[in-house]
């Protein structure tokens, strides 16, 4: 079972709540995904309104909320937003995303590291959204992150695992869970991420914007399970070299 901080998850598919055509449909898709960790943008929540529409559709014993800091541009703003999120959503879990670039929503490595250090010290469970940068992931681990969330390709792009070579290094080196976030465009991308050993994936756009989000959520659920199972069963190795004959070493079998 996947464990992040002190929480165990039987589903390795995490989901987002944005971009759906309606809240009832979002809820139905989330149920179909069987996801247990669901991100919510703080900017979309009316923190003064306990009956906020979005939150009322997320009230379910299986669903844990993961507030995100989308919209903040610096570590300072992120720390402020984190405190508000903790108060408003009654959780100390936080998906830390700091993107000063509103066009491609590229995460700021420097600010993210600073904010992780400060927030982890303050008792937050931090899941930082970052580039697929193996060194940065190790630095975040040391700074107290509970997991790392490297991107597969630009957020919302549905381009799949463009960063796969770096993801493999991150997965190899990490002692905390690795969640591939952003860019996963199809169930096969999700399965691939799981096959290479990711601990979980986070999917939003590919589900929300599909023609049938409920069916797509269910497809992702199965793909994540299949990918995980394949990882556990150890994929048969792809052979990059010929084994049929050994022209360079055959002489060793000859009698001298």
């Amino acid at each position: 079972m996947l464990k992040i901080a002190d929480k165990e998850f039987s589903s390795r598919l995490f989901t987002g709540t944005g971009k759906f055509s309606s809240l009832p449909l979002m809820q139905e898709a989330l149920f179909a995904s069987e996801s247990e960790l669901v991100t919510v943008a703080l900017r979309r929540v009316d923190v003064n309104n306990r009956k906020d529409d979005l939150l009322s559709y997320l009230k379910h014993p299986r669903i844990n909320l993961l507030p995100n800091t989308s919209g903040v541009r610096t570590a300072k703003e992120a720390v402020f937003a984190a405190q508000l999120a903790r108060e408003a959503l009654e959780t100390n879990w936080l998906k830390l995303e700091i993107h000063p670039d509103p066009k491609y929503l590229m995460p700021d490595a420097v600010e993210t590291l600073l904010a992780t250090e400060e927030l982890a010290k303050a008792g937050f469970i931090i899941l930082p959204y970052i580039h697929a940068d193996p060194v940065l992931c190790k630095r975040l681990e040391n700074a107290g992150a509970a997991a790392v969330m490297p991107l597969g390709s630009p957020i919302g792009s549905n381009k799949g695992l463009k960063t796969i070579d770096f993801l493999e290094i991150i997965i190899e080196q990490s002692t905390i869970p690795v969640i591939v976030d952003a860019g996963i465009g199809s169930p096969s991308d999700a399965a691939r991420a799981m096959e290479i050993g990711a601990d979980a994936v986070l999917v939003n756009t590919a589900i929300a914007v599909s023609e049938n989000p409920v069916q797509m959520a269910s497809a992702f659920k199965m793909a994540v399970e299949a990918g995980r199972m394949a990882f556990m069963a150890r994929l048969a190795k792809q052979e990059n070299y010929a084994v049929a004959s050994s022209p360079l070493t055959a002489f060793l079998d000859e009698e001298f």
Binding site: G18, K19, F20, S21, S22, L23, A41, L42, R43, R44, V45, D46, V47, G71, V72, R73, E77, F80, A81, L84, P100, D101, P102, K103, Y104, G156, S157, N158, T205, A208, V209
Partner: protein, 370 residues
């Protein structure tokens, strides 16, 4: 210091216009097939040669918009604070030479207006004024921002252009975005339509987005008033401006609007009319050129047209708007800046958005992000 004016001055209106009008079907097809579109592609997409490609452009625009913004449409409402104005603009109901009763809302009156707006459900308000620097100045804006900030998640402004240090003062008070329309990039025509007042300086207006960028504004809105000049050429210059700004002020978000000249009391006839088909072409051309751009559609447009535009590439929409100061509560009957075509209430618009398969979004920002 970088400035758009320097880049702008290397271009010539007539050359740009000719280049747009000489685009061919081949250029359009190349633009449609390209994964990343350039300014030359944009020219092809707004050119007459692209007219037969409207449906494929709309399909692409629809897909790209959903990919980025999901199946959602944001809602906002304008709050007119003042119609005092020292400018003469040939197309505007608030022009100095227009004999209308002038009013600048007091704090008490603003609160009355806010109460009505809040009942409609809005979290994003757009403050609008004319240009009367003696009474409606930066101190007035500071007062207003402090007054209304507790009521809204997001505050935008569409007022006279200000200096960088003035924007710098207003941003921490809760100012998220500023809209400044160039009206037209045709310098001679600009002079003709703005004969008097501070607005008559083409360059000061042209440099406003640079000043906003330097002040670190979160979002800025660009656009031209469609009907003053050749809309294809004016739109190309808007795209050029956007292209420059995105690279220079990369931490800022950008939005665009396409106000078409509408009649007002004593109104100006458009020099060049743009039909609905052409407006759709323009919306799609911008989306194909820039996937991240926020695009809003004015209440100047008719109900039917607005309904159909929702899935095409629009990301935000206003509803229940009044374009006169005091229009919601204080003095509902006073003269408006321009006539509104779509008079539906915010609830009716939200219902229409839902019926189109989209979620109406009232809140997508937070005070904490300032």
């Amino acid at each position: 210091m970088k400035n758009f004016k320097d880049l702008f001055e290397t271009y010539h209106w007539d050359e740009a216009k000719e280049s747009i009008y000489s685009k061919t079907k081949n250029d359009v097809e190349q633009a449609l097939n390209s994964p990343k579109r350039t300014l030359e592609d944009f020219k092809a997409l707004v050119s007459p040669a692209a007219a037969p490609y409207l449906e494929p452009m709309a399909q692409l625009s629809h897909r790209l918009t959903q990919k980025r913004f999901g199946k959602t449409v944001q809602l906002f409402i304008p709050l007119y604070l003042s119609n005092e104005c020292t400018n003469i603009c040939t197309y505007c109901g608030f022009s100095l030479d227009n004999k209308v009763k002038r009013r600048t809302l007091t704090e008490n009156e603003i609160l009355q207006e806010v109460a009505v707006i809040k009942k409609m459900g809005y979290e994003h308000v757009l403050l609008v004024t004319g240009e009367a620097n003696q009474t409606v100045h930066v101190e007035y804006f500071k007062k207003v921002l402090k007054l209304i900030r507790p009521f809204f998640a997001q505050v935008s402004m569409e007022v006279q252009p200000l200096d960088t240090d003035e924007y710098t003062e207003l941003i921490p008070l809760g100012l998220t975005s500023v809209l400044v329309y160039q009206e037209t990039y045709h310098k001679a025509d600009y002079r003709k339509h703005h004969p008097k007042g501070k607005k008559s300086s083409f360059d000061y207006r042209l440099e406003t987005p640079d000043r906003l960028g330097r002040a670190g504004i979160n979002k800025m809105g660009l656009g031209v008033l469609i009907g003053l000049e050749d809309w294809r050429t004016d739109s190309f210059f808007t795209a050029l401006h956007l292209h420059y700004l995105e690279r220079t002020y990369w931490q800022t978000r950008y939005s665009l609007s396409f106000p078409r000249l509408r009649p007002f009391s004593g109104g100006l006839q458009p020099k060049m009319e743009m039909n609905n088909r052409e407006l759709v072409q323009l919306i799609c051309a911008y989306r194909l050129f820039n996937e991240e751009l926020e695009i809003s559609l004015s209440t100047r447009e008719t109900e039917q047209f607005r309904n159909h535009c929702v899935p095409l590439g629009i990301t935000s929409i206003s509803a229940g708007s009044r374009t006169n100061p005091g229009g919601y509560a204080v003095e509902p009957g006073s003269l408006e800046q321009f006539e509104i075509s779509d008079e539906r209430s915010s609830l009716e618009i939200a219902e229409m958005i839902r019926a189109k398969g989209y979620e109406p979004v009232w809140k997508d920002w937070d005070k904490v992000l300032q």
